[in-house]
Subunit: 224 residues, 6 copies
């Protein structure tokens, strides 16, 4: 198989991307029809980050981070690195030197279905990472992979230029072509939720707010 680096990938509109970041992962995921969540084993290395950006994808062999260096050259300000190993691996592909380089290129963070290290440094630098492991185990630079090809990361297919949204709830991907539409749906959803939140805070029950009682009875729920 040819190992390739795809250059000049199309990105979504930056204002749309930034808008998606405001809404967060859970809302965006609902807004696009409950699709696109990466597996829940991806966890942030520190709490409180909420970012969105265009995916620069990396397909890398197990235990080999050579392609990360290649990918960093492809970064544009506002991008997010997305690394998927070609077979399961927990090694620490990424640390403070790579983060320094990625930050210098404008990256907003990393999503990696593998391990990361130097997490104290990354936290101090404010470089957020969502990973399946934290591991000091180093990697080699011997075998090619590819950059900006379609990957499956943590169970979800991602293409270069898709929009990644990540926060304390995890990571969701929005197709580039659907980003504006999803943002609109997220805005509608958020607006709608505010009114509900107020009623619920006042003690109204979801059973009444969502008019669930008749359907529950019809399905056969018994109160005893």
């Amino acid at each position: 198989m040819a190992h390739v680096v795809v250059q000049n990938v199309a990105r979504a509109d930056q204002s749309v991307i930034d808008g998606l970041a405001q809404h967060g992962v859970a809302t965006v995921h609902e807004a696009q029809g409950r699709r696109g969540c990466l597996a829940s084993y991806l966890r942030p290395i520190y709490s409180g980050a909420r970012i969105a950006g265009s995916a620069v994808t990396i397909s890398a062999p197990p235990g080999d981070n050579w392609m990360v260096h290649v990918a960093i050259e492809q970064l544009r300000p506002g991008d997010i690195l997305v690394l998927a190993p070609t077979s399961p691996c927990d090694d620490g592909y990424f640390g403070d030197l790579l983060a320094t380089s990625a930050l210098a290129r404008g990256a907003r963070g990393l999503v990696i279905d593998a391990g990361v290290r130097d997490v104290r440094d990354l936290t101090e630098m404010g470089f957020p990472v969502w990973s399946r492991a934290i591991s000091a185990q180093g990697t080699v630079k011997e075998t090619l992979g590819s950059v900006n090809v379609p990957v499956v990361c943590a169970g979800v297919a991602i293409e270069a230029g898709d929009v990644i949204v990540a926060d304390d709830d995890g990571v969701v991907v929005v197709r580039r072509a659907e980003a504006a539409e999803v943002l609109a749906a997220a805005e509608a959803r958020t607006a709608n939720e505010e009114a509900k939140r107020l009623k619920l805070a006042q003690g109204m029950l979801g059973l009444d707010l969502y008019e669930m009682r008749p359907r529950l009875a019809e399905k056969g729920l018994k109160y005893v």
Copy 2:
């Protein structure tokens, strides 16, 4: 099988419940004969919470949180929601709107052998959750379950009205009928530990404090 909501469940005495919260999970678990710990994969979404309350139990299908709405109506101030899916599931059954509603009804927290989302909001609201996953993946409202029936949550059988104690060490359940007795045992244990802690802090060895040396020798331990 009939899907039911059991109403008017008996609770333990509130002062007993509050007393158990003071002692924490490890002590309560020891005080009742080293029983009742839920599986260690249940983790708090933030550190530092220490609560106790009466269980309002929820048996829910995988990927379906309809019964949470039903359960919230059954909450009384001081209760804790306990959700067990009928087959393993990591989806995010619970988020900020449900937490708003549960708080309005006086709930102290949630123990869920599944996923939770909106964890940043829940942390800001001070609504503690112990869960097996953090996941933005949403759920549907299509299939009935039951409320306040006996469940097995994270490996432990729990009945509605049992006392749940949860802190950074995890979650333990105390049978409602045994709560007062367990509190007394916990108090005795805590008092007893204080004296030991002082001696250990002064450098006395557990080998001497607990008089272990003869029995170790008898079992055949050799110093070389």
Copy 3:
């Protein structure tokens, strides 16, 4: 099999140990040829600790912490307890009383391929632990193990007196006899990294800094 306590284990030079702590796990691991990392499922109970010390090893049966008491007597100031169960176990072998005792003997922390409890207390005491689980489940004191014998902890062979380095990235072991040599290599590596970090921060690419382009081309990487 004889159950033994090996006394008077040789330690590495304390200044070497303290030097290794300065460099942290990832650097030390690289400095010794990318060896010695314990499995990444070992996680710290709180963030920010960075320690090094001589291993006092404990081989313990599942669900039995008797040998921890025996091991504490063998501690010297600056040591780290390292516990490996003889078969997989998540129970909470260690809590605040044992930590009080270990601190009184000068221990710097605990590495345990099992569970720990009282983590709020341990955090307040500043006693760091790297464990595979946090679990309130208590243990018994019925069956012998051994102290200061070779163990395999989280996938790595460790001998008493080996140097343990632990931080937010995990845990690495350095052979006692190699500690000084590894420290020298770590110092060289750290010095070398500083210059690189500066260049990367200024926007220089790793592709150029490490002169990777020719070899990538030779291996067949295509830009499209």
Copy 4:
């Protein structure tokens, strides 16, 4: 906590038990309202066994099989041993000598949320086991547990005298008091399935057999 052996446990009618064995796990589970399946990580040590029997339950500490000897005395012909460790453990609690003894007492098999060994011998003896692990790791006989108390085994609450049904699909428990009723429901279900199987084998679609098309359309399924 007192460690007890409950004697003279009530069993279900033997003809009902044998009837349930005929229907197998999947059918029995459906017949009782889709309840009672033990976790799917329990697997048979060999294929083809299909048994039912009354549960003699064992609550045992991790790595300690003393209570198995105690439980064997409580066996009556047609019973099944059900062992749940008090915390997760993969050790081999049971091997050919215990199986020889259990067979001599009329046991039909073992369900164990832990490990088993001597599986070649057990296979030759025709003593079926459903376990979470196969492990040669031996256990000690130092700490008490209990026999014929309620346990949670592989995620399901089981009481002594409940009916266990096990085959290649796994294990299901039927409450003793419900056994006859569940058998009747299983018989009805099996009879009903025969007719459906014939139609499906002739090429009739489930969509038509179960009249699903209108409801699918109503829910919004689109054919494109």
Copy 5:
């Protein structure tokens, strides 16, 4: 999100598909550049099956097998059902009645990133299944999914009409458009391996057959 059934999906040439089955999973995977293997947790329910067919894909909610009935109508002789749940689930989505129906429509097997049941019956019927679990836990028919849309199954993106090859080594997917090319590469590889196998069987070392010694020396391998 619209729930859809895509009809009249293009398939690869049947003779190409059958050719791929002859070569098996490992060879096909190598022949297409070491791509396309589904996660190794997918295991066959019985040994010895080796099949290939066109994917009819199913995206299904957790614990809901309604879409399997819909998918069966879309089967053509020689097809393979491929089911991916929208969040992780081990339930038994598929059993003997569905297999009877699928066989009547000409299906060659099922690949499912979830559970299957009635495995004894499926084995007797000769209907092979590769699954992540064997589980009697039944499912409901309440929530829509989609058929013949792109899915990610066990970590790999699959489109309807892609060629699935499965045997005792697991499952690999070949893009429909590449199937003929991959078959040719597999044939070349198999022919090439035969000559090598003969030499290796005669005692020739891979070190010599593949002329590895110079490169090993160059990389620095030392014999001591």
Copy 6:
């Protein structure tokens, strides 16, 4: 770190090795004081094999099987290959060509804390493998490892020349220097077990055979 191949490793006496094979894993493990079992996730690719041999150890990078070729040259008749990856990896390091070569050199089998493929061929060849995964995912030949150095495989430290015993219960390692002594202990144990088996088969209880009743009573077991 230097990558080395250690040649001319000492082996145990072949008659001792063959004797250990007769007793099997569980007995050998008990005979040496309940030590040496590899993790239970290592499973045989087919049932019924029972082998023993001298370990030729391989330390290999994740996803790279180059060192297997190097190790095969070091095989002597009766040896067993033991592969430990330097970080967790499920890839299929070993298949039918390597097995052909290993068989030609007299190897008795493979123990691998990673994946294996071509399992149907290996089964037909009668080449037994104990692995953590079956995976068609191929590996590269780019990065050095070492042969016949100490490794940790599936949680146990193994040195080249140690005796490996493997059967359906898993894998155990016996130190080379202790092999004769362990064999003697295994023979004594097996002889002793025969008499016990006969008594147990006749219905005698372990409670009586092992005289457990007084100690159970002393510990406080209550019959109710």
